[in-house]
């Protein structure tokens, strides 16, 4: 519910600074997803928000009020821990109802709520079991259930679905998406899963070594990454990067690499000219390459297919392009023979260019 602001938040463990000035504004009832490689500080950020870690400098505001000195229970939040953090001596039902029991809610209400959440999570047959008697995925669902029985203003999720099988994960994702529509809560969600991040988020925040790289809607980040890191991090399979040299000819800009020369769209070309770029990195997503033998010379890559990974209706081809490796996503029925050199059309509006020194987008 509250509007949450992180202002120049830093975290130090001893002399090591692991978060360097996090600036983040989360609107009322917004679903924020934190993504980033392992160890980049996602859990730390979440735990500071929860009040489990002290703030080294900077401030956290909820609805404009500074809260960094408040105890977790005064911040009105529920949390799913990365390591579940279940109470080992309580059975599933008591784990899930602990907060409600502390709040002295009527027993009837507690029972009803626990049953409702347990049913949603497929845990109704396990209510009497202790955490040690559950599988990893079941434990994770209990952790999730413990948060969902709460009626807090803010929900913090630290990789809450990481241990579930694909089908269950899909179901839970859908449940979360429904819940997100139905209840007006603030949710902050950490995940490694691209699909979760893309489907659930109102706002994705990409972090790297304790810093926010970029934040915005999933679509914005996917289409307009500010740097090579964000571009490579979002999207699966990840974006291809090729070293190119820009050539200016007949008022047009061409990106030349080993064995290819691609024409750059006017807008992007203008920006490149303005920055007088010469050496840079060209980025193209695997899904923006189409098998097309008749594509023009300046809008295609000739790739030698070395591996084909079948993943159902789509196949991922791993190809050679000079010394670089390029992955391509094609429909599985595309007739492909390994070892062949094939021509793939490049959608010109899907080309990204990055400064080869600073990695920022051009």
């Amino acid at each position: 519910m509250p509007r949450i602001q992180l202002e120049n938040l830093t975290k130090k463990y001893g002399n090591v600074e692991v978060l360097h000035g996090i600036e983040l504004d989360m609107e009322d009832a917004e679903f924020t997803v934190l993504v980033g490689p392992s160890g980049c500080g996602k859990s730390t950020t979440l735990r500071m928000l929860a009040g489990l870690e002290s703030v080294s400098s900077g401030e956290i505001y909820m609805d404009g009020k500074p809260v960094s000195h408040l105890e977790p229970k005064e911040r009105d939040l529920a949390m799913v821990f990365q390591d579940y953090a279940l109470y080992p001596h309580m059975n599933v039902a008591r784990n899930m109802s602990f907060a409600l029991r502390l709040a002295k809610r009527p027993q009837k209400e507690i029972d009803a709520k626990v049953l409702e959440v347990a049913t949603m999570l497929g845990l109704e047959d396990y209510l009497a079991r202790k955490p040690a008697e559950l599988s990893g995925g079941q434990r994770q669902r209990v952790a999730m259930g413990r948060a969902l029985t709460r009626d807090s203003g803010t929900f913090l999720f630290d990789e809450p679905l990481s241990n579930l099988d694909a089908k269950l994960r899909g179901q839970m994702r859908a449940e979360l998406a429904v819940m997100r529509q139905r209840v007006r809560k603030n949710m902050v969600y950490v995940t490694h899963d691209q699909i979760e991040a893309m489907t659930l988020a109102d706002r994705i925040v990409v972090m790297h070594s304790g810093e926010i790289q970029q934040q915005g809607t999933p679509e914005h980040l996917f289409k307009h990454p500010v740097n090579k890191f964000v571009a490579g991090f979002l999207g699966s399979p990840p974006m291809n990067f090729l070293d190119v040299e820009l050539h200016y000819r007949d008022n047009q800009v061409f990106a030349n690499g080993k064995g290819f020369s691609l024409r750059i769209d006017a807008d992007l070309a203008a920006r490149a000219v303005k920055q007088s770029q010469r050496h840079c990195t060209l980025g193209i997503r695997p899904s923006d390459l189409d098998f097309d033998a008749n594509a023009g010379n300046n809008a295609a890559l000739d790739l030698k297919v070395s591996v084909s990974e079948y993943i159902g209706s789509q196949s991922v081809l791993i190809c050679e392009c000079g010394e670089a490796t390029v992955t391509v996503e094609v429909k599985s029925e595309t007739p492909i023979a390994l070892g062949e050199v094939l021509r793939f059309a490049v959608r010109s509006d899907a080309i990204h260019l990055f400064d080869s020194e600073t990695s920022t987008a051009i």
């Binding site: 929860a50 009040g51 489990l52 105890e71 977790p72 229970k73 939040l77 529920a78 949390m79 821990f81 390591d83 579940y84 953090a85 279940l86 109470y87 080992p88 001596h89 602990f98 907060a99 502390l102 709040a103 202790k130 040690a132 008697e133 559950l134 599988s135 413990r146 709460r150």
Partner: protein
């Protein structure tokens, strides 16, 4: 291996068998055991109506349960208070366990001086404050020896509780904080239940030890005044040496032994029960995965 085992068995059980055998006989220290008369359960029956023995048994039980109760209360309480990472905490913890390292006889002597009617520190304080002196080792002898024992053995409980506390899953406590538990509620609902297995074993160990206490009381009061602090161990020694009733003394020791055995069995039973439970959990889990 076999000879070693036999020697061990003899070394362990000979005194025990000797004592049990002796307890069925009318036995004066001047006699050899073979010269004594068999009296069946007479020694045991006689003890049951022996007021001095009953008194001594009551003193022992009172002493043991009272000291263990307070030691648990203070030891666990201190552990809960000092379970935090503040500067100087490790020094404080080391200081707390000093009493345990002092030889019991020395502890007894120390407290005897402190309880001294005129020169003891307690009574001097009391007179300085203008209050009446307390007859520590006379009228209040049992309370006084209980206090001394609590002073000596609380650190034992403290150390074990602290170790138990520090091995609790941190994340469960964090979850409790998020769930809105106050400090007290964390103790009642999370910390104590999770510490319970260690606490129960610690308590039984202390109880067994408290039944056998001897030195401190011997030095402080020698069991007096009257029978007020005559714990079983002392009573047994006196029965054997002063009253020259070896058979009776042996029967008394057997009563004590029986009591300790029940407690020990309770402890083993408890750990066994726990292991069985853990085993069952594992089996259940394997079934699930299989």
């Amino acid at each position: 291996m076999a000879p070693a085992a036999i020697i061990m068995l003899i070394a362990l059980f000979y005194p025990l068998v000797y004592m049990v055998y002796g307890s069925f006989r009318d036995w004066d220290p001047s006699q050899r055991l073979s010269e004594t008369d068999f009296v069946g359960l007479a020694n045991y029956v006689k003890l049951l109506s022996d007021e001095a023995f009953i008194e001594s048994l009551t003193v022992t039980l009172t002493f043991a349960f009272v000291v263990v109760f307070f030691e648990m209360l203070i030891g666990v309480g201190l552990a809960l208070l000092l379970d935090r990472n503040l500067r100087g905490m490790s020094l404080l913890r080391t200081l707390f366990i000093l009493p345990m390292m002092i030889a019991p006889v020395v502890v007894g002597l120390m407290w005897r001086f402190m309880y001294h009617q005129t020169d003891g520190i307690f009574n001097r304080w009391l007179t300085d404050l203008g209050l009446d002196r307390v007859d520590w080792l006379g009228q209040h002898a049992l309370t006084s020896v209980i206090i001394a024992d609590i002073w000596q053995w609380t650190p034992f409980i403290f150390i074990l509780s602290l170790a138990a506390l520090q091995s609790l899953p941190r994340s469960a406590l964090e979850a409790a904080r998020i769930d809105g538990a106050t400090g007290w509620q964390q103790i009642i609902h999370i910390k104590l239940p999770l510490m319970a297995p260690v606490l129960i074993v610690t308590m039984l160990l202390r109880l067994i030890d408290a039944f056998k206490v001897l030195e401190v009381i011997l030095v402080m009061t020698e069991g007096g005044p009257g029978l007020s602090t005559e714990i079983l161990a002392l009573r047994i020694a006196r029965t054997a040496q002063e009253f020259r009733e070896l058979g009776e003394a042996a029967a008394m020791s057997n009563y004590l032994l029986l009591l300790l055995m029940v407690l020990t069995l309770a402890m083993f039973g408890f750990t066994r029960w726990q292991e069985a439970r853990a085993q069952k959990l594992k089996m259940l889990q394997r079934e699930e995965e299989g």
